[in-house]
């Protein structure tokens, strides 16, 4: 248990503000691009 907490603490110390900002920006761009793009791959149609 102690080791797990230590590992989480180590991981969070490596995650700085810049990483979070990048993850959020990529997520926002992915949502934007999926929202405004309209390629047709027939994905939602039953076969």
């Amino acid at each position: 248990m102690k080791t797990t907490f230590a590992q989480i603490a180590l991981f969070s110390s490596k995650l700085n503000r810049q990483h979070l900002q990048l993850a959020f920006a990529v997520l926002a761009i992915a949502m934007l691009v999926l929202g405004i793009g309209a390629p047709g791959d027939g994905g939602a149609n039953p076969h």
């Binding site: 920006a25 691009v33 793009g37 390629p39 047709g40 791959d41 994905g43």
Partner: protein, 192 residues
């Protein structure tokens, strides 16, 4: 899928470029991202979640899709000074225009849709019916602005088939550019 590939490619190119330049990679400084979060909700319900795909009547789904595109347009306009955004905005406008001209859906012809499916699409979807996430199956003679519709296909040898529009190409190019060459907003740059 092709759009997400452009994002992944842009991110990898940007990271490699930053490494080459011996600088840290800087994420694009996006403003008003809440517009994207709000605009994506109807898209998620109407286009991407199979459980809710056919929940709304078609007319309401089409109106909601158009409304979300307007929100996305506002977001892109606010961030228009970022690299790639003008290209992305042009793609958005092309898709918005052709969708508005065809009842709020992206038109696709039975011929192109059949190439995507690998079988006659009319066995699966009736003319005028929804195809995929945001497309509507329309014969060429009933289609408005056909040149902006989902009319392009990947090469026949590709195992994954998808139809895409001129707007989609510009959106993919803009997203790639945005992530491959991110810089701070001009105001922030001036302030530094």
């Amino acid at each position: 899928m092709i759009l997400l590939t452009a994002i992944a490619g842009g991110l990898v190119a940007g990271l490699l470029w930053a490494r080459w330049q011996k600088r840290s990679y800087q994420a694009p400084d996006l403003r008003s991202t809440w517009l994207v979060l709000v605009g994506f909700v109807p898209q998620l319900l109407i286009a991407y979640l199979p459980a809710t795909h056919h929940l709304l009547p078609n007319w309401l789904a089409a109106v909601s899709l158009s409304a979300s595109l307007v929100l996305f347009l506002a977001f892109v306009w606010i961030n228009r000074r970022l690299p790639g955004m003008p290209v992305l905005m042009t793609g958005l406008l092309l898709n918005l225009i052709v969708m508005a001209a065809n009842g709020g859906w992206m038109p696709i012809s039975p011929e192109v849709a059949s190439r995507v499916l690998g079988e006659d699409v009319r066995n699966v979807v009736a003319l005028g019916g929804r195809f995929g996430q945001k497309d509507i199956l329309l014969p060429l003679q009933e289609m408005h602005l056909e040149f902006l519709s989902d009319r392009f296909l990947l090469p026949a040898w590709s195992p994954y088939q998808v139809a895409f529009s001129a707007g989609d190409i510009l959106i993919a190019a803009g997203a790639f550019w945005l992530l491959a060459k991110p810089t701070a907003n001009s105001n922030q740059t001036n302030a530094e």
